[in-house]
Amino acid sequence: MTDNEHEHDHARTFQPDHVEPTSEAARLGLALRELLIEAGHYSVDEEQAMIAAMQGASPENGAKIVAHAWTNDDYKARLLDDGANAIRELGFDLEPYEFTVMENTKTVHNVIVCTLCSCYPRSLLGMSPAWYKSSNYRARIVREPRAVLAEFGVNLSDGVEVRVHDSTAELRYMVLPERPTGTDGWSQEQLAALVTRDSLIGTQRELGGDK
């Protein structure tokens, strides 16, 4: 591709180092994209801004909410009672869906899935991992959650109840992991740094601490 061609074809993939896919379905997607841009339905600038916004969301958002709840009992109570409003209270932009935060305890472990598609709290956790969208995870986490969790390195004793939450377009979930011991007096920033994406999904249970 020459620079000249590039300038004349604004709907083209922007960076030349991004290889275009060659599968039929992906080509269909690119064709659709170029048609919509050329028809003026949206601009390349809008596309770039949207991609930047999507890339900007990360599990750090969810981690901040968790750290806030760990250090503020009143907030934690509000978060568990009405997740959507408590999350908006901290300035996070949630699409207009219900949001429920499920608390892990010594005897309860929560894990989330979307069996029908891929619903995921993207504004709080960023892009979902590929496995979250995979058929094997979606099929089996509701059938044999302990076995699936073991594949993630989470080995639950019989005394711990597993609760699997199936997300929908209107209702999303996030897990509130247990605060690690040995973190008394830690700042919210220090605590947030312990919280991982997988712990917010529920495919990780133990978080670092002490050090």
Binding site: M1, T13, Q15, H18, V19, E20, P21, T22, S23, A25, A26, R27, L28, G29, L30, A31, L32, R33, E34, L35, L36, A39, H41, Y42, E46, E47, M50, I51, M54, Q55, V113, T115, L116, C117, S118, M127, P129, A130, W131, K133, S134, S135, N136, Y137, R138, A139, R140, V142, R143, V148, E151, F152, D166, A169
Partner: protein, 108 residues
């Protein structure tokens, strides 16, 4: 409901081990993602249910063989064709143009 499960309705089925490999979106996948969101923002589709409906109506072989964003692309295409926002001729023409372009680039 007596209808057979759609290909998307996998909850409770059996399956193999979960592939835990992390995967960053390719750039074209971000572009598809952005396109769907912008199509919603601009009113080309009314809600995500419309898109999901298109995905759920994919042939089971398509559902199994297509990657995640390929399913989105197929679904959005069928939705926009049905609504008249684009025509089959326009789409075919553009696909041909991209194919020719890719052929030229791969041989240059």
């Amino acid at each position: 409901m007596s209808e057979a499960w759609g290909p998307h309705d996998v909850g409770g089925r059996t399956g193999g081990p979960v592939d835990l490999a992390e995967h960053d979106n390719a750039y074209w996948e971000w572009q598809i993602d952005a396109m769907v969101r912008l199509a919603l923002a601009k009113g080309l589709i009314t809600d995500f249910a419309e898109l999901r409906h298109g995905i759920e109506r994919l042939a089971p072989t398509d559902y199994d063989e297509l990657s995640y964003y390929e399913r989105w692309a197929k679904s959005l295409a069928s939705t926009l064709l049905a609504s008249g926002a684009i025509t089959q001729d326009e789409l075919d023409g553009k696909i041909d143009a991209i194919r020719r372009r890719q052929k030229i680039e791969s041989s240059s």
